[in-house]
C-alpha cells in the first residue's frame, strides 16, 4: 500500500504511551504481581485436527524417551524434549453405542465434553466441556476466561453428519450442555477481540467507554428480566443464555478496568482471513502466543478444521477433499496424500511450538508453563476408530511435568483420565469427568 499523503489513520497502538511493550510478564500482570517472585501461571490449549490421522506415520515403534520421530511428527523432532506422546487413550463416548452412524459428529462433540452427544439436528445436547470447567475457575483471573478459535467457516447449508447437528462439528468448547461456544475464525476479529480495534484510547476515553457500556449492560439486564415474566421454559432458556453472556462481558470490563493498560501485540492488525492455510495458522498462533504471554487467558481451544471437512490442500498440491481421501481403502497413493495433510498440519503446529519455546518466562520458557494438546477425535479416519487417539502434549504444565517421553497406557484408557490430570495441574480439582476412571498417572518428574 502506498500512501501518497500522510495518512493520519487514527494512530496505531505501537509506540503509544499507554501501550505496554511485550514481553512484560514480569513487569505487569496484576494476577500474580502480588508476590514479588510469582510463579508463572499454567495455561492449557487444545489444537484439534479432524478426520483422524494415518497412525503408521504417528506412533513410534518404541516407548519411553523420544528419539527419532515418525514421519508425521518429524517437524516436532527438534522439540521432542518438550513433548509427551500418549498411547491408547480412547474416547468411548465417540463410539456409536447404539446411536448408529455419525462418528465425525460424535467424536468432535464428545472430545472435550466426555459425553455422548444427543443424536439430533435440533435440540442439541452434549456436556460442559472440561476446558470450560477450568475456565470457570481460573478464568476469573484473566481478561478472557477462555478463547475459542478455528480456521474453517461452518458449512453454510446442508446437513453435517448423519443426523448430528452442525453445532457438534462446528464447535469444540461447550459452555453448558446446550450451548456450544463458536470459534472465532477471522484473524482480524480475533485481533480486535484481544487488543481492541487497533486504536489507542486515552484513559479518559476508555473510562467513558466503560461507563457507557456498563450503563447499557444494566439497561438490557433490566429489560430482559421484565421480558422473562410470562415466558415458557425454552424461551426463558434463550434469555438466560443472553443474560449469561451479558454477565461475561461485565466481568471482562471489570478485569480490563483493573489492569488499566492496553497491550501492544507487536503485529499489524490482520485483514480478514488469508487464503493460504499456513499464513492463517500463523496469524492465529501469533495471537495465541500473545494471549498466553500477556496472560489475557489461560485456556484456548483451537478447532483447526471441521470433522468431515472436504477442504482440499492445494498449498501442498493436494486437490482432493480431506474427508473423501481419508476413506482410502488402504490404497497407498491415497494414504500418502492423507499423510501429507497430517504432516502439513503438524508442521504448522511445530512452528508455533518453536515460537512458544523461544519466549523466556520465569526460569524457563513460555512453553514450559503450558500444556498444549495436539490431537484428533479419531485415530483411523478410514474406519472411524475411537481408540488409541493420536494425542500429544507440548510443554510441561509448570515445572514438574516430565516430557520427552512416549507413554503407552493400558488399552481403552479413557481420554478423560488425561483431562483430570490436566485439571489438577490447572489447579482445578475434580474427582470425576465424563467417563473417567481415574487420573492419568506417571506424568510427573518423579
Amino acid at each position: 500500500m502506498i500512501t501518497k499523503k500522510s495518512l493520519p489513520r487514527r494512530t496505531f497502538l505501537r509506540g503509544m504511551g499507554t501501550a505496554v511493550a511485550l514481553p512484560f510478564l514480569d513487569a505487569m500482570t496484576p494476577a500474580f504481581a502480588a508476590t514479588t517472585r510469582a510463579k508463572p501461571p499454567v495455561r492449557m490449549a487444545f489444537v484439534y485436527v479432524p478426520n483422524g490421522i494415518i497412525m503408521d506415520g504417528w506412533n513410534p515403534d518404541y516407548e519411553g524417551t523420544l528419539g527419532a520421530l515418525p514421519r508425521i511428527l518429524k517437524p516436532l523432532e527438534p522439540y521432542r524434549q518438550d513433548i509427551t506422546l500418549f498411547g491408547n487413550l480412547t474416547h468411548n463416548t465417540g463410539r456409536a453405542l447404539l446411536d448408529g452412524a455419525g462418528d465425525h459428529g460424535r467424536c468432535c462433540a464428545s472430545y472435550l465434553t466426555g459425553v455422548q452427544p444427543r443424536k439430533t439436528v435440533i435440540d442439541i445436547k452434549a456436556g460442559v466441556s472440561f476446558d470450560q470447567i477450568v475456565a470457570n475457575q481460573v478464568g476469573k483471573q484473566t481478561r478472557f476466561p477462555s478463547l475459542e478459535l478455528g480456521m474453517e467457516d461452518a458449512r453454510q447449508a446442508g446437513d453435517c453428519d448423519s443426523g448430528y447437528s452442525c453445532a457438534y462439528t462446528n464447535n469444540l468448547a461447550w459452555k453448558s450442555e446446550t450451548q456450544p461456544l463458536p470459534p472465532v475464525l477471522d484473524p482480524r476479529a480475533l485481533f480486535e477481540r484481544l487488543f481492541g480495534n487497533g486504536m489507542a484510547l486515552t484513559p479518559a476515553a476508555r473510562a467513558r467507554e466503560n461507563l457507557y457500556r456498563r450503563s447499557i449492560l444494566d439497561f438490557v439486564t433490566d429489560d430482559t428480566r421484565k421480558l422473562e415474566t410470562g415466558l415458557g421454559p425454552t424461551d426463558r432458556r434463550k434469555l438466560d443464555e443472553y443474560l449469561s453472556s451479558i454477565r461475561e462481558i461485565e466481568r471482562q470490563i471489570e478485569r480490563a478496568e483493573k489492569d488499566n493498560a492496553q497491550i501492544d501485540p507487536h503485529m499489524e492488525k490482520p485483514y480478514g482471513i488469508p487464503a493460504d492455510f499456513a499464513e492463517h495458522f500463523k496469524l492465529m498462533a501469533d495471537m495465541m502466543t500473545v494471549a498466553f504471554q500477556a496472560d489475557l487467558t489461560r485456556v484456548i481451544t483451537f478447532l483447526v478444521t471441521h470433522e468431515g471437512t472436504s477442504r482440499p490442500y492445494r498449498e501442498i498440491d493436494i486437490p482432493d477433499g480431506h474427508h473423501p481421501l481419508t476413506h482410502h481403502r488402504n490404497q497407498p497413493d491415497l494414504i500418502e496424500k492423507v499423510t501429507q495433510i497430517n504432516s502439513y498440519h503438524v508442521r504448522q503446529f511445530a512452528a508455533w511450538i518453536a515460537k512458544m519455546r523461544s519466549i523466556p518466562e520465569g526460569d524457563g520458557t513460555l512453553l514450559d508453563n503450558c500444556m498444549i494438546v495436539y490431537g484428533a477425535g479419531l485415530s483411523d479416519g478410514n474406519r472411524h476408530l475411537h481408540e488409541d487417539l493420536p494425542t500429544l502434549i507440548a510443554g510441561r504444565g509448570g515445572s514438574h511435568f516430565k516430557s520427552g517421553r512416549r507413554i503407552v497406557y493400558r488399552k481403552e484408557t479413557p481420554m478423560c483420565n488425561l483431562y483430570l490430570a490436566m485439571m489438577d495441574r490447572m489447579g482445578v480439582h475434580v474427582e470425576h469427568f465424563g467417563d473417567s476412571t481415574g487420573r492419568l498417572d506417571t506424568l510427573d518428574l518423579t
Binding site: I2, V121, I124, I246
Partner: protein, 780 residues
C-alpha cells in the same frame, strides 16, 4: 384460515368420487387387505419381517389409527413406487391407487377429528442476514454481520431455526461493538478529516492480488463513511483494432459498477501507455474487498500469462486508488430519519425521537416506561457534558442490544396451558411475515395494518403478501431460502480443482449463483408452476455462463432470459450451481448428486453409509474402469444396495455434467452413460428423460418443498402434529396447478403460521400420530 376443513373434505370426497369410476369400491377388505396379504406379506411377515415390518399387525381397518407411523411409511413407499420391489409381482395399478386413496382418506378422517396443534415457536434471535437487513431498514446503515459475527448454527438445513440460534459471549461482544459502530454511523457522528486522503494499491508493491487473468483485488479499510473517488490504473495497450472492454467493479463480491474502457492505442501516449478510469461513490466504513476486472474479455484469454502483463501486447489493470472521504448525502438521509425534530429543543422532542425509534426497533409500539428508560441515556450523556445528540446515539446503541431488538419473542396469553391454541397477534403476524419474505423487519405499511388490527383479515393479508413478494426486499427470500434449500451458499466454500477445471473462477462462480437466483425469483414473481424447477425450458444467462453451457448468441455481462432448445439443460438440476455444490473438488459423485436430488427435490432422507465403507477408487475412474462400472461393483453388495439403488440412478442421470456443471460426453476415456432405472422400475437414458420422469413425481416434490419452506417460515423443525397442515397445503397446491405463489399464500394461511400455543410438553392428543415430516431425531 383460508383453507378450512370443509373445503378439504369436499376436495377429498370429490377426488374419491372421481376415482370410484375406475377403481374398486373403497373399503379396507377390498382395497387394502388383498394387496397386503398377497403381495406385502411375502417378505413382511412374522418370520422375515423385512425392514422391521410385519403386515399381520396391519390387517384390520383400525390398524391405520393404531399404527399410524407404520402406515405413513408404507404410504410413502407406495407413493414413490419403491414397493413392491423389482422381482415381486405388482398388483394392477388401479388396485394400488385404490389402496393409496383409501389410506389417505382414512388419515384425513382421523386428522379432521384432531384439534389442530400449531406448535410453539421459541424466542428467535435474529440471524446474521436478518440482523444486517433489519439494521438497513431501521437506520439506513449498511452493516455486514456476515463478516463480523460468528456463523449461525443451522438446523434442518436452515440457519433461522430458533432452537439452535444461541448467544455466546463472543457474539455478545460483537453485538455491543456493532451497536456502537452502527449508532455512530447512523448519526453521522464520525467527523470526516478536513482534507481527503489518497491510498493506492499497486501491483509493483504487491499490495493488490491478481485473482484471475485481468482481475485484481485489494483489501482496504474504509475509515470513514463517505464518498470516495476510486481510480483504476491501466497500463499498456492492445492492437489498433482492439475492441473496448467492460471494466467491472465489485465490492465484497457484489458487482456495483461497469463501464466501457478503450484498449486500443491512444493518440496521446507514445511510450509507456497508461490510462485511468474512475468512479465516485459512497463507501461504507469497514474492511472491504475491492475487485476490478475486465469481463467478457475474450482477447486476454488468447494471451499467455506473460503476455497478459506485457504493456506492448495488452492493456491490463494494475492499481486501485482511493481518494476521499468527501461529504456524502447518504449519511444525511439516515440522520434525518432519526432526528424527526431538533433534539436541542427539549425533552419533548427527545421523547418523540426515542418513541419513534423504539417503535421500529422493537417492531411494536414502545411503552412510556421503555421510552423513559431510554431517555436516561440522554441524561447520562448530558451529565457528562456531552450533547443531546450524543445521548440519542447512546440510546440507539442500547436499543440495538436489548433482547427486544435482537429476539423475536411471541407471547402466549396462557403461558402454562399448551392446550390453549390461539391466533397470534397481528403484530406478531407482521413480523412472522416480514422475516419470512424479507428476512427483515416489517415496513410501516405492514406494521400499520397490524397495529390497526386489520392484518389477519384474509383479503388484507393476501394483498400484503402479494405486495411483499413484488418488493425488492423479497430478494432476501431467494438468497436465504433458495440459497439454503439448494445449498447454493456452499458455492463460496467449494474449491474445485483448478488443474482439472481451469474455467472455474470468481466470475464463473458468481454467474452460476446469479443464474439460480434469477431463475428462482422469476418462478416466484411470475407465479410459475413448481414443475419449472424440475424442467423449465428457459433459464437466465450472461455471455460468460452461456459460453460455458455452449449456448450461442448471448453477449455481454447482463443476464437475460434464454430459451433452452436442446435437451442438455432444463430446470434446477441442470444448473451449474447445483451441479457444482453436489460434486467433489476433483470429480463428480453420483452418490452426492443422488442424495442431493433425494433430499432436496424428492424429500427422501437417506441414512449415512456405515463406517469402513469401501470408498471409490479415485485414480481408477476414467482410466481403469468407468465410474459406472465402479459403482455397479459397489452396488453388488446387498448392504449397500438398498440405498444406492435409490441414489445412484439419479446421480447417473446427471453424469453428462462434470463437477462444475459443464456438459460432457466422455469421462476420462470412457463415454458417459447417463442411463438409469429408478426403484419403481421406470428407466431413462438421458438427463432430459430423467427430468421427464421426475415430473411424474411432482406431488412428492411439492411435498418436499412445502416441508422445507414451512420449516423456514416458522423457524422450527416440523413435528408430527404439523402433518395436517402440510397435507392441507399440498392439497390446495395441487388444486392450484402447483403454482409457486400458492405455496407461499398457503403457508401464510396455515395454522402453524397464524396460530400458536404455550411452550409446554406436547399435548397427549397427538400421541401416536407420527408424520412423514422429518422426525425431530435425525434418523440414520
Amino acid at each position: 384460515m383460508r383453507m378450512n376443513f370443509w373445503t378439504i373434505a369436499m376436495a377429498v370426497s370429490l377426488a374419491g368420487s372421481l376415482c370410484a369410476a375406475d377403481a374398486p369400491p373403497a373399503d379396507f377388505d377390498s382395497a387394502v387387505k388383498p394387496v397386503l396379504s398377497k403381495t406385502c406379506a411375502m417378505c413382511h411377515n412374522e418370520k422375515l419381517s423385512s425392514g422391521g415390518l410385519n403386515v399381520k399387525l396391519l390387517l384390520s381397518p383400525d390398524s391405520i389409527a393404531t399404527y399410524r407411523d407404520g402406515w405413513e411409511t408404507i404410504l410413502d413407499k407406495l407413493r414413490a413406487g419403491e414397493m413392491p420391489p423389482k422381482g415381486i409381482p405388482r398388483p394392477p395399478e388401479p388396485q394400488m391407487q385404490a389402496l393409496i386413496h383409501y389410506v389417505e382418506g382414512e388419515f384425513e378422517k382421523a386428522d379432521r377429528n384432531i384439534k389442530p396443534d400449531p406448535g410453539h415457536v421459541t424466542a428467535r434471535r435474529l440471524n446474521r442476514s436478518e440482523y444486517s437487513n433489519t439494521i438497513h431498514d431501521l437506520l439506513d446503515v449498511d452493516f455486514r454481520a456476515e463478516r463480523d459475527f460468528p456463523t449461525d448454527d443451522s438446523g434442518y438445513g436452515f440457519d433461522n431455526i430458533a432452537d439452535v440460534l444461541t448467544i455466546s459471549p463472543v457474539l455478545m461482544e460483537r453485538y455491543l461493538d456493532a451497536a456502537e459502530t452502527i449508532a455512530s454511523r447512523a448519526m453521522g457522528a464520525d467527523p470526516l478529516p478536513k482534507k481527503p486522503l489518497e491510498v493506492q494499491y499497486h501491483a509493483k508493491d504487491k499490495s493488490i492480488r491478481r485473482v484471475d487473468l485481468g482481475v485484481i483485488e485489494a483489501s482496504h479499510r474504509v475509515e470513514w463513511d463517505g464518498d470516495y473517488i476510486i481510480r483504476f490504473g491501466m497500463p499498456g495497450e492492445r492492437a489498433a483494432d482492439a475492441k473496448p472492454v467492460t471494466l467491472a467493479f465489485w465490492i465484497d463480491g457484489a458487482l456495483v459498477k461497469t463501464m466501457p474502457v478503450e484498449t486500443k492505442p491512444s493518440k496521446l501516449v507514445y511510450f509507456d501507455p497508461y490510462s485511468e478510469a474512475e468512479v465516485r461513490m459512497y463507501l461504507p466504513s469497514g474492511d472491504h474487498v475491492f475487485r476490478a476486472g475486465f469481463i467478457d474479455d475474450d482477447f486476454v484469454k488468447t494471451l499467455s500469462e506473460k503476455d497478459a502483463y506485457n504493456k506492448k501486447k495488452n492493456k491490463f489493470l494494475d492499481s486501485i486508488t482511493f481518494v476521499g472521504p468527501f461529504p456524502s448525502d447518504v449519511e444525511r438521509a439516515s440522520r434525518k430519519k432519526i432526528l424527526i425534530c431538533d433534539p436541542k429543543s427539549g425533552q419533548a422532542c427527545v421523547d418523540r425521537i426515542l418513541t419513534a425509534l423504539a417503535h421500529r426497533a422493537y417492531r411494536r409500539p414502545a411503552t412510556r416506561a421503555e421510552v423513559a428508560s431510554l431517555a436516561k441515556f440522554v441524561a447520562l450523556a448530558r451529565s457528562r457534558g456531552e450533547t443531546t445528540e450524543q445521548g440519542v446515539q447512546l440510546a440507539i446503541e442500547a436499543m440495538l442490544v436489548t433482547p427486544q431488538f435482537l429476539f423475536r419473542i411471541e407471547r402466549d396469553p396462557n403461558p402454562t396451558d399448551a392446550l390453549d391454541v390461539h391466533r397470534i397477534s397481528d403484530i406478531e403476524l407482521a413480523s412472522r411475515l416480514s422475516y419470512f419474505l424479507w428476512s427483515s423487519m416489517p415496513d410501516s405499511e405492514l406494521q400499520g395494518l397490524a397495529e390497526a388490527g386489520k392484518l389477519h383479515d384474509p383479503a388484507v393479508l393476501d394483498a400484503q403478501v402479494k405486495r411483499m413478494m413484488a418488493d425488492r426486499r423479497a430478494a432476501a427470500f431467494a438468497a436465504n431460502f433458495a440459497g439454503q434449500w439448494l445449498e447454493i451458499r456452499n458455492l463460496d466454500v467449494v474449491k474445485p480443482d483448478p488443474d482439472k477445471f481451469p474455467e472455474w473462477g470468481p466470475e464463473l462462480r458468481d454467474a452460476m449463483k446469479t443464474e439460480t437466483r434469477l431463475f428462482f425469483e422469476y418462478v416466484l414473481r411470475e407465479n410459475r408452476p413448481l414443475s419449472d424447477f424440475i424442467d423449465a425450458k428457459y433459464t437466465f444467462l450472461n455471455a460468460r455462463l452461456a459460453k460455458f453451457y455452449g449456448i450461442p448468441n448471448v453477449t455481454g455481462p447482463d443476464f437475460r432470459r434464454v430459451e433452452l432448445t436442446t435437451g442438455q439443460r432444463g430446470g434446477l438440476l441442470s444448473q451449474a450451481s447445483v451441479l457444482t455444490v453436489s460434486s467433489y473438488p476433483t470429480r463428480t459423485s453420483v452418490v452426492l448428486r443422488g442424495k442431493y436430488v433425494l433430499n432436496n427435490i424428492l424429500g427422501s432422507e437417506i441414512p449415512p453409509p456405515p463406517p469402513d465403507v469401501p470408498a471409490l477408487d479415485e485414480s481408477a475412474v476414467g482410466t481403469l474402469m468407468s465410474l459406472r462400472q465402479q459403482m455397479e461393483k459397489h452396488r453388488a453388495d446387498p448392504m449397500c444396495a438398498s440405498c444406492h439403488n435409490k441414489m445412484d440412478p439419479l446421480g447417473f442421470g446427471l453424469e453428462n455434467y462434470n463437477a462444475i456443471g459443464k456438459w460432457r460426453t466422455e469421462d476420462g476415456k470412457f463415454p458417459v452413460d447417463s442411463s438409469g432405472t429408478l426403484p419403481n422400475g421406470k428407466s431413462f437414458k438421458t438427463p432430459d428423460e430423467m427430468r421427464a420422469l421426475l415430473m411424474t413425481g411432482l406431488p412428492q416434490f411439492s411435498r418436499c418443498l412445502t416441508e422445507k419452506m414451512l420449516t423456514y417460515a416458522l423457524g422450527r423443525g416440523l413435528h408430527p402434529y404439523d402433518r395436517a397442515a402440510v397435507n392441507a397445503i399440498n392439497r390446495d397446491l395441487a388444486a392450484s396447478g402447483y403454482r409457486f405463489q400458492s405455496l407461499i399464500f398457503d403457508i401464510v394461511h396455515s395454522a402453524p403460521f397464524q396460530m400458536g400455543r404455550a411452550d409446554a410438553p406436547a399435548p397427549a392428543r397427538v400421541a401416536g400420530a407420527a408424520g412423514r415430516v422429518p422426525a425431530p431425531r435425525g434418523a440414520s
